[in-house]
Point group: C2
Chain length 229, copies 2
DNA sequence: CGTAGCCTTGAAGGTGATCAATGTTTGTGG
DNA sequence: CCACAAACATTGATCACCTTCAAGGCTACG
């Protein structure tokens, strides 16, 4: 396949410590797939015969609750793996989550055979997978630690986790355009609750909207204050 | 060190696919440590210079919430690893959770140096670590999927996850003696709520106590029914 | 025998869910 | 280009579930 257009993959966290030939092998038979907005990249319950690396765009990993709602487990962005962690789980295993594109998204699809042949025996790759899994778990555990806190606190923590960490002056933009619904689905709460709290924060300036329809900016200090009080 | 008394380690899930010499190397400089009831095996925030394998007994992995409660993230039983997942995270890293013994507990403590030398370069071990991490994460994700369900449902799901899976006739014992407090801390709810629901279940026979102070037995069918209604 | 940890119950109160209605935006097909 | 549907946003009213608080009892253990 032509990876010449995707130089970016060589810099992905998951391939750090690997040289180019090794990375090329790890991408044997990989295929590029493109998605529009709100398309399924993979579905929970489907046989896990491949996995993906996000090239650009973003995807949400969702689970269906018994009551019909969708719970969002993770937002996968550039360089993130989707469906990779289940590859270890022997043949016949199925995806535990669904992945849905958020806006135009391109991913590299890697067949399970490639995983078995080149990913499984590479200690470096397994360690990198480990680090990735560890990071995700830390996030979920952080959430759980706050599970007894009021929703305002949990929402604040969620927003702070999703601001761009590049600059560190007062206010920062969310690194991902999230709808209220998606925020609610991430926290496992009702949309209305999220809306009410964020309305308050928009009113008191904790959050600002530059343009009418643009991204929202967060005044980190004020947010931290409003949480502690 | 004398592993002759701990033949059991060779059968642990984490060492599956490894031959004895390799396992022995993986246990280089390991030391046996014993704990009574409610002792700290390791503390959140301490430098992560070692990790443990549970030989017998059990330990709970806990995080301290900002409001003073302890949240239980995981119950580690025989063959489980404690503090191992942070070993990858470079030097200077600290334990993200505390581990506390539940009853008399023995663990093998393995220094970080051994991890770096024998665990890190072994793809099989890294893969096994991966599987372990994956299993824990699945559990947490299951919990999160139920986060919008009423507490009865979540409590039922919790109990069902902790029954012994050996026999499958009607009623089964919990595989671990858990206090109401520990159940509450696992679910992130108030003790009183757990007590009230389990009182109801004891009254209607969904749960039975054989002796006054013995373990509790669960009527799985009734529990599933009481959840769906 | 006193303390610490756990269990239990009841009463009161609040947070967040639910329900219903309406507006807005986006995308789609005629 | 317009009409319509689908997804998202918003607001208010009501209510249930769960928390909080307070008080007391039980058991284990030094």
């Amino acid at each position: 396949m032509g990876l010449e257009n995707h130089e970016i993959v060589y810099q992905f966290e998951i391939f750090k410590n690997l040289n180019r030939p090794t990375i090329d092998r790890a991408l044997t038979n990989a295929s590029l797939r493109q998605f529009k907005h709100r398309e399924f990249i993979l579905r929970a319950g489907d046989p896990a015969e491949f996995f993906c690396i996000v090239l650009d765009g973003a995807a949400k990993l969702i689970r269906h609750s018994p009551r019909g709602e969708d719970l969002i487990m993770h937002f996968a962005v550039q360089g993130d793996l989707v469906g990779a962690l289940v590859m270890n789980q022997g043949p016949g295993s199925v995806f535990p989550v669904s992945a849905k594109s958020m806006g135009p998204t391109r991913v590299l699809c890697i067949p399970k055979a490639t995983y078995r042949e080149y990913w499984l025996p590479q200690a470096e790759i397994q360690t990198a997978l480990n680090a990735l899994l560890y990071k995700r778990m830390s996030t979920i555990q952080d959430d759980k630690t706050l599970s007894t806190s009021p929703l305002r606190t949990r929402l604040a923590s969620f927003l702070l986790r999703h601001v761009d960490r590049d600059s560190d002056d007062g206010s920062q933009a969310l690194s991902l355009a999230l709808t209220r619904q998606e925020i609610a689905d991430s926290l496992g709460v009702a949309v209305e609750s999220v809306i009410r709290i964020m309305r308050d924060w928009l009113e008191d300036g904790t959050i600002q909207r530059q343009s009418e329809k643009g991204p929202e900016f967060i005044d980190i200090k004020k947010l931290l204050e409003s949480v502690e009080s």
